[in-house]
Symmetry: C2
DNA sequence: CTGCACTGATGGCAAAATGCAAGCAGTTTT
DNA sequence: AAAACTGCTTGCATTTTGCCATCAGTGCAG
C-alpha cells in the first residue's frame, strides 16, 4: 500500500480519484457531450467550471490514467483529450448515478432525459455505448452500420429542448 | 431550479451531495460496517476520519435526507444514525464503484472481497441486501429465516483476514 | 459518592482547494 | 494588420480540509 493512500478499500481508492466536485463533470462532458478541447469544455460547461480548475482536473485525470492528451494536427496550439479504457469503464457508474439522481433529486427534464434512456437501456445499451466510445477515443474499428447510442441520446435531448421551447 | 445549484443534471446534483472525499465513506461504514454511533465511526475508521469532518458530514447527510439521527434509549448522550431509503438506494452505486476500483486500482485483498462478492452477486444480491438494510434501519419486517447478506460479506472478509494472518 | 472512562461533538490554526477575474504568448482567420 | 481563438497561468479572496486539543454531560466500577 502506498503511504499516500488512506486505505486499500476499492470505494476509498475510487473516491481518492473521483471524489470531488469536478472530475466526473469533466469526464461526463467529454463522454456524453463529445467535447474534446479545453475551450469546448470551458465554454459549454453547464455548471460553469473555472479555467484554472479545468486545467488542474485535466492534468490530474491525465496523470491518473483516465484521459490522454494529444496534439491536434489541425491547430498547433490545440490539444485533444481522449478517454482511456479506465474512463470508458465508468459508463455503468454514470448510469447508476444518473438513476439515483433522477429518483431522489430535483433534476431538470432536459438534462435528465439521457440518464433516463441510459437507465432504461440497461447493461446491453451501456456496452454498446462503451464500444462506441472505444471507437471514438481509442480508434477501435466497429462493424459498419452500427447505430450510434450517443446520437440517440443527443437526439432525445434536443427533442425535449425543442418541445419545452414551444410551450 | 434552486439558485444554489450549478445545474439540474442528475450527475451534477448527485455530485453536489456526494462529491467529496468523505460522505460516501461515512455511508459505507454505516451500511457495510454496521456502525451506528459517532465513536464507532470515528475509531473504527479505516481511513482515519477527523472528528470535526465526521461531525460535519453526519450533520449534512441528515440535512440532505440520507441519514436520520435518533436518541439512543440506553444512553442519554448517545445518538443512533440510520440510513434512509435514499441512502439504501446507493447500494447499486457502491457495487459499481467497488467493481471499478477493483478493476483499475491497487486495492487490498481483504478490503475488496466484499466488493467482489457484491459484484458477482448481481442485482438480485443487491436487492436482498437492500431489503436487509430496510429491516435494520427502517424497521421493516422481513420473512423469518431470511439469510443475512451482510453476514455473508463480513464472514468472507474475516476469512481473508485470518488466512492472511497465517502466512 | 468519587474518580474515571465514555458520549457526541467544538475550537484553533495551518494548509490546501475552490472560485472569480484578468491576462498571456503563440496561432489562425478575416 | 487586426481580431479572434488556442490552452492555459496568475493573483487573490474565500472556503474546505486536516490535525490536535478540548469540553460538558453521562454512566459505571470502586
Amino acid at each position: 500500500m502506498d503511504a499516500s493512500h488512506r486505505s486499500g478499500c476499492p470505494i476509498n481508492l475510487t473516491l481518492e480519484i473521483l471524489g470531488d466536485r469536478w472530475s466526473l463533470i469533466v469526464i461526463r462532458d467529454i463522454m456524453f457531450g463529445n467535447r474534446r478541447h479545453f475551450r469546448e469544455l470551458l465554454q459549454n460547461s453547464e455548471e460553469g467550471i473555472a479555467s484554472n480548475i479545468l486545467a488542474d482536473r485535466l492534468k490530474r485525470l491525465v496523470e491518473r490514467g483516465l484521459l490522454t492528451r494529444a496534439d491536434d494536427p489541425t491547430h498547433k496550439q490545440k490539444a485533444v483529450y481522449s478517454l482511456t479504457e479506465m474512463a470508458i469503464d465508468l459508463v455503468p457508474l454514470f448510469a447508476q448515478m444518473g438513476a439515483w439522481g433522477r429518483k431522489h433529486l430535483a433534476v431538470s427534464e432536459e438534462l435528465s432525459i439521457r440518464a433516463e434512456l441510459l437507465e432504461n437501456g440497461g447493461a446491453k445499451l451501456w456496452e454498446d455505448f462503451m464500444e462506441e466510445l472505444r471507437a471514438k477515443h481509442l480508434g477501435k474499428v466497429l462493424p459498419p452500420g452500427t447505430p450510434s447510442v450517443l446520437g440517440r441520446l443527443t437526439e432525445a435531448y434536443l427533442e425535449v429542448v425543442d418541445r419545452r421551447k414551444e410551450s
